[in-house]
Symmetry: C2
Subunit: 434 residues, 2 copies
Amino acid sequence: MSNFLPTAPYRGTRDFLPAEMSVRTQVFHALYEVIERYGYGRYDGPILEPVEMYEAKSSREIVEQQLYTMTDRGGRRLALRPEMTPSVARIIAGNAGSLQFPVRWYSHPNCHRYERPQRGRVREHWQVNVDVFGSDSAAAEIEFFELIHDMMAGLGATPDMWVLRVNDRVLLDSMLTDVVGVPAEQVRAVSGLVDRWEKYGADKLAEDAAEIGVSDKQFARLGEVLAAGTAVLDEIPDEAKAQSRLVEVLRDSAASELITYDPLIVRGFDYYTSTVFEVFDQHPDNRRSLFGGGRYENLVGLYSAQRIPGFGFGMGDVTLFDFLDTHGLTPEPRSDVDVVVIPLAEELFGVARRVARSTRAAGVRATTPLDLRKLGKEIQRAVKSGAFAVVIVGPDEVNDGQVIVRDLATGDQRNLEIDRVGPAVAEMRDTHGK
Amino acid sequence: MSNFLPTAPYRGTRDFLPAEMSVRTQVFHALYEVIERYGYGRYDGPILEPVEMYEAKSSREIVEQQLYTMTDRGGRRLALRPEMTPSVARIIAGNAGSLQFPVRWYSHPNCHRYERPQRGRVREHWQVNVDVFGSDSAAAEIEFFELIHDMMAGLGATPDMWVLRVNDRVLLDSMLTDVVGVPAEQVRAVSGLVDRWEKYGADKLAEDAAEIGVSDKQFARLGEVLAAGTAVLDEIPDEAKAQSRLVEVLRDSAASELITYDPLIVRGFDYYTSTVFEVFDQHPDNRRSLFGGGRYENLVGLYSAQRIPGFGFGMGDVTLFDFLDTHGLTPEPRSDVDVVVIPLAEELFGVARRVARSTRAAGVRATTPLDLRKLGKEIQRAVKSGAFAVVIVGPDEVNDGQVIVRDLATGDQRNLEIDRVGPAVAEMRDTHGK
């Protein structure tokens, strides 16, 4: 027995059987539909990318600890993409001459990170990425906030279930420098501290602050300011606010209702330069960040001299499914078949196939058994597979050019001319609401 | 300049911009639809699999020359899947206890092979895989032949464009042993020779035959037999034919019309044990195998003691797109937007967003500009993006609660109450047949 290979997928990756895949497909198709209504076109790129792309721009944690790398037979160093942003920046830069900006694009890649598998973390995850390229306008921010609201609604979520918390790196820097009095050279390190504010206890934060060189007085002031929420805005100088797109959004009465300004939002990635946001689950059992994104001043600088600003986010499937499960929003798997056409004898398999063909031509999913079984057994199997009807192909009926159609929900059955089966089961399907 | 990273994708892989992705999506959705009408459920699995899976079962060429491998930080040897069959065998074996056989599954994975890129060959390709597990019956063969005909029709191909050539390893072995007189220990090597029959010239074949140890007389006889086509069947002993599912299929008058028996079809993979087939393009410019598959006696033997026979095939995107291009069947890319809502002043962006929202609520894809441009310019851009209408949001009309809707095909325009825009453009879309 010990000679058999293991059947479990590689640690941190997942198999999706049809029932699970059906759920995944339903959820992501709902998202695709919303995103496409906003005029975003879907793109795709290779899983393998040159390692240099990530060494140049991704976070150190990703490159040093989480990247899956290999060397090909030609000596090229390659990585499995850990995120889609560097790839889309590469593609945009390479095609900038023929694109009409602003470019609205989305994708649904799988990304790999070497992590210790735990709740919300896997090694291969699927991520919806949505980006706009080529506009500096705060109108991009507003479009994304509207889009996110529609995406969440498309998943069945009501506004009480989640919150869109937004900050601006410009405001964050000014808050730290002008309001708290952090020296310029400490701003980056203190931003990291703010990013960890909700995850760590007070003692750990104080310890980290001391290590960075933040004085006790500044640390106390930082705590006050972060607790103040929107009131911080009153203390931030007008010159900083004039540069902030977020302030512009907050002044738009319709757009400001979509978001909550929150000085605690930082986002880890280095490439964000202005607006940053995170969507948080509001459920007491799952108060976590679901996804986030932000604005980058120029993401294609690695590839060309042209400046192309953008705004975007990535939404991973694992945290998304945790959210849907927590709120009872996960859709039911759909069955793979509508109708099973059952021949009662070997010599009737050909007729059964013909009936199945006419059923399919009417847009109804049909199977025929591959091996002969007793009718009762076959009907049990059809019920288990989620079919709503069976068509029984018996010798007497076939002699009269007919078959029996049985509704599996009601048990009603009737004889039908073979040619009438397709339209009849199509009508039944509409009645069954499938 | 030389400090910029290259923007081309890794050699042998492809970027899919939205226009290309739209074509890919249309083609594969047409295939999904046909496959699902046959009751097949879609599954998915990880890209990374243990190397041992391929070492155990895939062809030597794949394992030794084509596999992308790496070692993770825990010392596990991993490969990027070069094909889906070992993964689906693993998943089926791991879930056999809870599955109702026959299991009908399909998938659409990307697979990686290290090859020298050339026409029809890339390093990352997308492949539709369709398999049935758990039946020994020739009814599985017939189902697949019908499915393939419907898939090709779903792509817009007519029956003259392609041919489904089928053989049976049982018949092949008997032909070589009983008809040509090849000794048992040479059968495998001579099968390889038959596999190369159409690719190599006569001299090269004779040379290879001599090397294997085939006599001149046997080689001449082999040539005669292979040229005879269906007539070979008359010479194959009844005992061999009785074991052949293909012979059963050929006796079914409806099913036999779907295929062409061809003694030249072998298929390289070791795991095929009985029926094998290949679909060939019939176009004089592209006489190539588009895809193929066959029956395996037991694919899950690596994972469990249970025997699970199956039948399946994989259809790669590169050869498929060559076929579609050759026959003029490649669909046009679809535009990403239906309607552009254009505000004529900064203070009208909010109204434009509201109009776009109502348009989207009616199921019509809408964008609004992010930056203010001249109307003429914006209309040009809308035409270029493939939109069928623009909605012009001007100050005078908005004062009256109205906007202007212009049909970009006809140039007709009319004023409409803001609330009426959604239904009106939905109606226009149906008229435009999008």
